[in-house]
């Protein structure tokens, strides 16, 4: 009985040893193969990495500007004429959330653009300015709130004390 157990244990150890040896072999073979293919070990040098071309799947490219329920998913902006001009000019420095939170008339949207140009390094928008202002006024106009609004979107729940 004891002999049998001993034998089983020895066999187990031999199998373990074999696995380790095989692994080492594969690893060494792998390294040798790598050095054969790439003798300068280029990818271990971070200096001046060679130009790499990555194929971007077309589907991902389409996803980048995905629209869902009339909303540009990546930014949260409303899909409408001028969207791309707004994305390209207004979301470089700050989040689109700063746009979507605000509601202004034409005069005040323009004043905001001027302020950003004068103090925040915003560039001259050229012909895009009209397109952008029109987009903002159409999609983010001021809303009447009065002196105090009623409470809305109340989530009712039973109070457990």
């Amino acid at each position: 009985m004891e002999d049998h157990e001993k034998l089983a244990q020895t066999l187990k150890q031999i199998r373990k040893l074999m696995v380790v040896i095989t692994f080492c072999f594969v690893a060494i073979a792998g390294i040798l193969l790598y050095v054969m293919v790439n003798p300068r070990l280029a990818s271990f040098k971070s200096k001046e990495p060679s130009q790499e071309y990555v194929t971007v799947p077309v589907a991902e490219e389409e996803n980048f500007d995905k629209i869902e329920n009339g909303i540009h998913v990546r930014t949260g902006l409303v899909e409408a004429e001028g969207l791309i001009e707004v994305v390209n000019n207004c979301t470089n420095c700050h989040s689109a959330k700063l746009v979507t939170q605000n509601r202004m008339n034409k005069e005040r949207w323009i004043a905001t653009i001027r302020w950003m140009q004068e103090t925040q390094n915003l560039w001259d928008l050229g012909n895009n300015e009209d397109i952008i202002v029109n987009y903002l006024v159409t999609n983010y106009p001021p809303k009447k709130k009065g002196r105090r609004e009623i409470l809305t979107n109340v989530e009712w729940y039973e109070l457990q004390d």
């Binding site: 971070s46 990495p49 790499e52 700050h94 959330k97 939170q101 009065g146």
Partner: protein
């Protein structure tokens, strides 16, 4: 192309600060590949904030609490609002961090390491109310430009540090000193190194108050990065923008500090009241100093339903800028009748005060519980929006919660 490379590096740099670890083999990462954390930054994890907090802006980061999240007597980090004007500084090293005191009105320019500040001056701890000047902006009509804070841009944590006064006395300030202004390590949104996102300050009397600290700790621990690690100026009761984060330099000025966001319409309101929407010239705008009296019902959360005959326990906090709250009242009939709610004394000057009340409802139906605080000079919160101003500051209108009795 160069710019992109720079941006990428900058972003990776900030990722390592935020993650607190180096991205191993980051130079092996394929070009154009962004590590997962940068693709979908989870602000709640990144800043240790509760999931119930509301992100108003992710560049720069601006996050607010909700009334019911502010129930703690001392606000923990997870419920503390974040207001940034620029980008959070990268690669902060507290070991090499220095604070320089300079300006026209110092007798000598002097620089301290954090260790010197801590060993040279006595440490003090105060609980201090910090409220964003624009808290409540979302209610103004016509709407005011900026982050649309509702009620959650206020906190009252404990801050530990040295008195600014002790440091200024050690440096020596001239008789013509009238203002201090801070300069900090945060980065302008455009990444233009010649621009400061914000550089505000306070008149000398405020700077010399006992409670005005150069703080190292918040709630007994190192200040979280988003709240100004490793050094923050804390001036309770004034717009929180006076409490500069990541402070590197304090200038003692012989004129009103003219740093970024001190001028124009920033943190200023019309010196004389104006009609809603009226144009106001810059020279007719006055700098906000003490914040006005205000209160918040933090329990229960709005929307509570109770049975007829049950009493409703409510509680919350009230604060009054430089002053103390002397009276607290509640109403369940839109201000037709007000009932006094007991209010506690503050633990120290400039800390918020706690109130509570037990409310009976006469019959079934929809109610709103309104709370109104009155400060020690007799000024109360308005039920309607206070005076309109171009940037939507200082909305201290009464807070209310909806309650239904079945």
């Amino acid at each position: 192309m160069k710019r992109r490379k720079f941006m990428n590096r900058a972003v990776l740099g900030s990722a390592t600060t935020i993650l607190g670890t180096d991205i191993v083999f980051s130079s092996f990462m394929p070009k154009g590949y962004q590590p997962l954390v940068l693709q979908q930054p989870d602000p709640f994890k990144m800043f240790n904030k509760d999931k119930g907090m509301e992100v108003l802006n992710d560049k720069p980061w601006n996050i607010q609490a909700k009334a019911h999240l502010l129930d703690d007597e001392v606000t923990p980090n997870k419920y503390m609002f974040i207001r940034n004007n620029g980008l959070i500084p990268e690669n902060i090293d507290a070991g090499t961090w220095t604070l320089t005191i300079d300006g026209e009105s110092v007798k000598q320019q002097k620089t301290y390491t954090l260790a010197e500040l801590k060993s040279k001056f006595p440490l003090y701890t105060y609980q201090l109310t910090l409220e964003c000047g624009g808290n409540g902006r979302s209610e103004f009509d016509p709407p005011a430009k900026g982050n649309q804070w509702t009620v959650g841009a206020v906190s009252c944590a404990t801050w530990t540090g040295v008195r600014l006064r002790d440091v200024l006395e050690d440096v020596g300030i001239k008789d013509d000193a009238i203002y201090i202004g801070y300069h900090a390590a945060d980065v302008h949104l455009s990444r233009d190194p010649s621009k400061e996102p914000i550089s505000r300050g306070a008149p000398i009397p405020k700077a010399l108050q006992n409670e005005t600290l150069l703080a190292f700790k918040m709630n007994g621990e190192a200040i979280p990065i988003a709240h100004g690690y490793p050094l923050r100026l804390v001036a309770g009761g004034w717009p929180a923008s006076v409490s500069g984060k990541w402070v590197k330099r304090i200038s003692v000025r012989n004129k009103i500090h003219d740093g970024e966001k001190m001028t124009g319409t920033s943190y200023r309101v019309p010196c004389n009241p104006v009609a809603p929407g009226e144009k106001v010239n810059d020279e007719d705008m006055c700098i906000i100093e003490s914040m006005p009296v205000k209160s918040l019902i933090t329990y229960p959360k709005s929307g509570a339903t109770i049975k007829l005959g049950e009493q409703l326990n409510i509680r919350g906090h009230a604060w009054a800028g430089e002053l103390e709250v002397s009276k607290m009242e509640c109403s369940i009939d839109f201000g037709a009748k007000w009932t006094i709610c007991p209010i506690e004394k503050p633990v120290n000057r400039l800390a918020w005060q706690h109130f509570s009340a037990i409310i009976d409802f006469p019959k079934k139906g929809y109610y709103e519980v309104w709370a109104r605080a009155t400060d020690s000079s007799g000024v109360s919160q308005p039920m309607l929006l206070p005076g309109w101003n171009p940037k939507g500051y200082l909305n201290n209108a009464c807070h209310r919660i909806a309650v239904k009795v079945d």
